[in-house]
Symmetry: C2
Subunit: 206 residues, 2 copies
């Protein structure tokens, strides 16, 4: 059975959601953030040297990096290809990979800066806050433009990359950055309304 | 033929290196950073809405995210599987995916903060600089521990993830952060000494 090391509250909820969409059995090991710093604590570092989440264990495999976890789960537990284009469709597969890498590879860092700056005393450092102020709308605008009027990022169906982008949009919403993007708010609401997401939230205690 | 949108100096050198290792023909379109801000300029945004590099064009496919570009090139132009484990080796494939995601998904953000802070007036903001001071050694130490005494990150052979990690180590070196990690310095030197890397550097003008 798959074990998820789940740091509450954070991106591993979206791994749990994928497990629910796949109908897999899994166990959760729940970790709490430090009440003052908001960061993971020593217990999670005992489980994985980076002390980050999600990390999963699948048999003798221990795996980190949320995008790689999504790929692994879909490569092995989605035999009908419900959540990924077939390997034979070369261009679709490349774009699927692009968006799988995009959420942590490009979108996350500016939001992380916003998160850190929220704990920084004013006045905010001009280079850091200028970078975040420029990059957050660049990334959110890019997602909204690519989403266009599709229900999910790659088209009509929920696919692997939606799980990572769902995390990005939820974080952006929590930081008060999502309101200027009504199409992204609607997309996030569409994801979180899914029964599998509701089950994940209940199970993960978020 | 593959076209690489190459922003000088930066991570796209490592995509060019992969193309050289694969022996593929390619064209380079070279962009320069703004001399004062060090950031990409409007010309690159004309090529791709995020204005980042690398971006490649392969026929009618335009692809961004360096890890996804590596995957795409290896999925399509490495028929003997020189740079990736076979899809049938499930655990090796998962760990390959983890390290492919790792460089931009975990290692880059703390170095980006160091890069921005280098342009920030002193005194540095305590939350931001504290985060970077804690996370940079955490990430570099993690890479060094996993590398152990192997010549490349996954073992004896150069594989897909080395290209992204090479960029991370080169950036860390440029920021003066690599000296406490002699095994990582040796690993970076081993990569940059390869004839294909030398050809990439010459062609890319770096």
């Amino acid at each position: 059975m798959i074990l998820v090391h789940h740091l509450r509250i954070g991106r591993s909820l979206f791994t749990v959601w994928l497990l629910e969409e796949l109908g897999l059995e899994y166990e959760l090991k729940i970790y709490l953030r430090h009440p003052k710093t908001g960061r993971a604590q020593e217990d999670l570092r005992q489980a994985h040297p980076l002390g980050k989440s999600p990390v999963i264990e699948d048999g003798d495999l221990m795996l980190s990096e949320s995008g790689a976890i999504t790929s692994h789960l879909l490569d092995n537990y989605d035999p009908d290809g419900t959540f990924a284009p077939p390997a034979s469709d070369r261009n679709a597969r490349a774009i699927y990979g692009q968006w799988l890498h995009y959420s942590e590879g490009s979108a996350f860092a500016p939001l992380l800066l916003k998160l850190i700056l929220a704990r920084e005393a004013k006045p905010h450092p001009p280079m850091v806050s200028g970078f975040a102020a420029q990059e957050v709308p660049l990334q959110l605008g890019y997602i909204q433009d690519f989403l266009d009027d599709k229900p999910y990022i790659l088209g009509d169906k929920l696919q692997g990359p939606d799980f990572g982008i769902g995390f990005i949009l939820q974080l952006a919403q929590r930081l008060g950055e999502l309101a200027p993007y009504p199409a992204l708010e609607a997309y996030l609401a569409r994801m979180t309304a899914r029964p599998a997401f509701q089950r994940a939230r209940e199970r993960a205690g978020e």
